[in-house]
């Protein structure tokens, strides 16, 4: 692999200001990095390098080792072996203290912000104050406003974090890293929480930073983003580097193959819906409270017919979570009606809902989907263990029947597990999700609520789950597919509704899908305003 041809597209026009780039990072190399966790080899000797002025994408599936590698660079983990070379000199990074003082900043997947503190207080945290042991928030606010203007990242230093939307919180993280003088910025899956428009804006900012001489590492598993923003791409698979290639010349298909290690299908053929099915799931003006204590779901109305997939798009935290839970019987509806197969089913227990043919793939599979310490077989019968087939006289479990049924599911759903009595938490995300799917589909549901069914799942399992969902659709199941991955929603759904601040703000039918249009709805631009501007 020659990267001799590689040239940085930007000049090294260093803009040295008082704060923004006191630590010059010309190059940073990680050589032969090994990380061993108890029982797992997370990184098997990875080489990686980044230079000033470039955006280097780190691509790989969940569990490939991207975050682990970057946490080592940021000092949150210690490598088992290998070295880090900064501007040609080997360095050791024991903690975030070392990385920050060398000019490395990181935007974590889970934001490192304190919700009750203001933007300025979050920036002040851990820094020396100009006024000794007193806080100097005024001076910080002034500097933040300057940075905010320079990079076109709008923030209000005085507002507490908990009042900010996720996109704004991310801006705070980026500005904080810049304020701290980061010359190298690591972003861990930064677009997961953004609308397409917000992502575009982020890309503009990152390109500006690179043009000013910052080095940027962009972690992602989304192929089109990586192609759109990076100069070079390093692909990781199973803790090892597959290759590092210049972005020019790479394609989605070639990258996907590198990630997975075999040819993959990226687009599906979705046959047109057969006959118009009956309405199996109907919501009439359903509202529900969120954990924050306000109305997280407001007057939601929708219909899903048998043999149809209704996609729900939206930025995380706009009511999708409440929508899924209220239908699944896990959250009370404060008003409105939920009708399943013609029967009013508002505020009834999940057990009764199950008998009425509702299956639910929850968003947080380790919390609401499975019991981590239970075995694969026990998790398989979590819902149905009271049924005659699995008990002796309704009193105690027939473990042999349970194991047999589970073995069948393992075979049918191609679940990779050492056995039926392995604690399920030892399985990979994709295999756990397949088991949840097997359990939920076992009773041939009429209605399936699939919330983020492929989040944190590898491409192979994602492909499999998508095919299963399409099979269910062909069988006549009404499917509500809630996902923050717009590509997924567009690939599978017959119709898409968009949620914003707890409301359904728009609907689009297959054939009229347009990322800009859906993205604008996700950002709260009303359908009318969109038409006016068109």
């Amino acid at each position: 692999m020659g990267f001799g041809n590689y040239r940085t597209p930007h000049s090294y026009g260093y803009v040295m200001t008082e704060r923004s780039s006191p630590h010059a990072i010309q190059s940073l190399e990680m050589r032969g990095v090994v990380k061993r966790f108890p029982g797992v080899m997370a990184l098997k000797g990875v080489d990686f390098d980044v230079r000033a002025g470039e955006i280097h994408a780190l691509l790989g599936e969940n569990g490939a080792g991207k975050s682990t590698l970057m946490k080592i660079l940021y000092g949150l983990y210690q490598p088992t072996d290998g070295e880090i070379v900064l501007n040609g000199t080997p360095v050791t990074i024991h903690s975030p203290h070392d990385s920050i003082s060398r000019g490395i900043g990181m935007i974590h997947q889970h934001f490192m912000l304190v919700p009750s503190l203001t933007v300025a207080e979050n920036v002040a945290l851990g820094m020396k104050s100009g006024r000794g042991s007193m806080l100097d928030l005024k001076q910080i606010a002034k500097a933040l406003n300057e940075l905010s203007e320079r990079y076109n990242l709008k923030i209000d230093p005085k507002r507490p974090i908990w009042q900010l939307a996720v996109g704004e919180q991310q801006r705070v993280e980026i500005i904080r890293a810049l304020y701290r003088g980061a010359a190298l910025l690591i972003l861990d899956e930064p677009t997961a929480v953004l609308t397409p428009q917000e992502s575009d804006h982020l890309f503009t900012v990152l390109k500006q930073m690179a043009a000013e001489g910052h080095a940027v590492i962009f972690i992602s598993h989304k192929l089109h983003e990586v192609l759109a923003i990076s100069n070079r791409i390093t692909v990781l698979r199973d803790g090892a580097r597959v290759d590092t290639i210049p972005t020019v010349g790479a394609t989605k298909l070639s990258l996907a193959e590198m990630m997975v290690g075999r040819p993959v299908v990226l687009e599906y053929e979705v046959p047109p819906p057969a006959a118009e099915g009956v309405v199996r799931l109907k919501l009439e003006a359903v509202s529900a409270m969120s954990e924050r204590g306000d109305l997280g779901l407001r007057e939601a109305a929708l219909e899903v017919r048998g043999g149809e997939i209704l996609g729900v798009a939206g930025v995380s935290g706009n009511g999708q979570h409440e929508l899924a839970e209220v239908i699944a019987g896990m959250r009370p509806a404060v008003n409105g009606k939920i009708i399943i197969n013609g029967a009013v089913s508002t505020n009834i227990t999940p057990e009764v809902l199950r008998k009425r043919g509702v299956a639910y793939i929850p968003e947080e599979r380790m919390i609401d989907g499975v019991v981590g310490k239970f075995t694969v077989a026990e998790n398989y019968v979590l819902k149905t263990h009271g049924e005659k087939t699995y008990t002796r006289g309704g009193l105690w479990l027939n473990m042999r029947a349970v194991a047999n049924a589970c073995r069948k599911a393992i075979h049918n759903y191609e679940i990779k597990t050492p056995g039926t009595d392995t604690p399920i938490k030892n399985l990979s995300g994709g295999n756990i999700q397949k088991l949840v799917l097997a359990r939920e589909l076992a009773e041939n549901p009429g209605v399936l609520i699939a919330a983020q069914p492929t989040r944190g799942v590898d491409i192979g399992a994602t492909e499999y789950i998508h095919r299963r969902l399409l099979d269910e659709r062909a069988k006549g199941t009404a499917i509500l597919l809630i996902s923050e991955d717009l590509d997924e929603v567009m690939a599978l759904s017959d119709r898409i509704i968009v949620m914003y601040e707890g409301q359904i703000v728009g609907e689009v039918v297959r054939g009229a899908y347009d990322v800009r249009h859906i993205g604008a709805l996700m950002a709260g631009v009303t359908a009318e305003a969109l038409e006016d501007s068109a």
């Binding site: 946490k71 940021y74 949150l76 983990y77 903690s95 975030p96 203290h97 920050i100 990181m106 974590h108 889970h110 934001f111 490192m112 912000l113 304190v114 919700p115 009750s116 503190l117 207080e121 979050n122 002040a124 945290l125 851990g126 820094m127 104050s129 042991s133 007193m134 806080l135 908990w162």
Partner: protein
């Protein structure tokens, strides 16, 4: 005796003065515990530290006759017990509820053992005298001079600790670190704040203040030591932190409420009203439980309370 006379004989300036006096141990202990809780540590052993602080202050005064030596002894013992608690909670990451109860039982037993071995029979000492603030202590109007300006030094210090701690929490770097560590230790860690160091510091502050709280009983208010001198005041102090919603001012209001009930209880029995003493003894605890039920959710609540921090989890 008509009802007004009864009320008049109960709500007197001496009750008001006693309220401030009795608030002192609650305040020291609860403000100290606020430091610990704001950083995410629950110390149920406050009462044990108070007992050890009370004994060490009492014993040091008995031996040396010097009140400041007594106070210093309570601070040192309190600080050491805070350090022990920090080691257990932060370094060993033990269950804080259980280890706190352990610390309490240790303090309860140890203070009595030491008292029996070193002192033996009940003795009293000369505690901190009232300080009459010139000019102000002579104000006769509503008994203000007597209530507010004729108290001993520890009473003044206890009330001073309220604005001082509020200032530390809200205006200083250290306070910001405490709040951040209690709310999102992972974020604080990623921003180069040592979670361990901050939590050790707050727990030691909490220990020192609990020690002083004990000393305020044995060498300023009661001037004696006996078995279980505190009678569970340390537990009330922990509850007061919840009651006051982790804010020094709220903690102070709670402390005043409790000490007022205490003072009233003394006065009622002094006046000779026939209420079974058990009721008035129970009252503070009942109020504590009610207050806790209504304390509910709060944005200032340290969300990492009782959760040990482990980097990378």
């Amino acid at each position: 005796m008509n009802i007004l006379e009864v009320l008049g004989s109960i709500f007197t300036a001496s009750v008001a003065a006693a309220t401030l006096r009795l608030a002192t141990p609650y305040l020291f202990a609860a403000i100290g515990e606020t430091f610990a809780q704001r950083s995410g540590l629950l110390n149920l052993g406050v009462d044990g530290i108070m007992l050890m602080g009370a004994f060490s202050a009492f014993y040091a005064v008995l031996m040396t006759g010097n009140l400041l030596v007594g106070l210093a002894a309570a601070m040192i013992i309190g600080g050491l017990m805070g350090l022990a608690m920090a080691f257990i909670s932060v370094t060993l990451k033990a269950q804080q509820g259980i280890s706190g109860i352990g610390l309490y039982l240790f303090g309860l037993g140890m203070s009595e053992l030491l008292f029996q071995t070193l002192v033996g029979t009940p003795k009293s000492i000369q505690g901190f005298p009232p300080i009459y603030i010139p000019g102000l202590s002579d104000i006769q109007f509503l008994g203000i001079g007597r209530i507010f300006f004729s108290q001993n030094i520890l009473v003044y210090l206890a009330f001073l600790s309220v604005p001082v701690s509020a200032f530390i929490f809200n205006r200083t770097n250290f306070g910001l670190k405490i709040r951040a560590v209690g709310q999102n230790p992972a974020a604080a860690d990623a921003m180069d704040v040592s979670v361990t160091r901050v939590r050790y510091a707050t727990q030691i502050i909490g220990g020192v203040m609990a020690g002083v709280a004990g000393a305020s009983l044995s060498i300023a208010l009661l001037d004696v030591f006996q078995q279980n001198l505190t009678g569970g005041m340390g537990f009330i102090a922990v509850a007061l932190v919840y009651f006051g919603r982790w804010k020094p001012l709220g903690v102070m209001l709670g402390a005043l409420l409790f000490s007022f009930v205490n003072a009233l209880q003394l006065q009622i029995s002094a006046v000779g009203i026939q209420i079974p003493p058990e009721f008035s003894t129970m009252a503070p605890y009942v109020i504590t439980i009610i207050a806790l039920v209504f304390a509910g959710k709060q944005s200032e609540r340290p969300t990492a309370l009782t959760v040990p921090f482990q980097r990378g989890e």
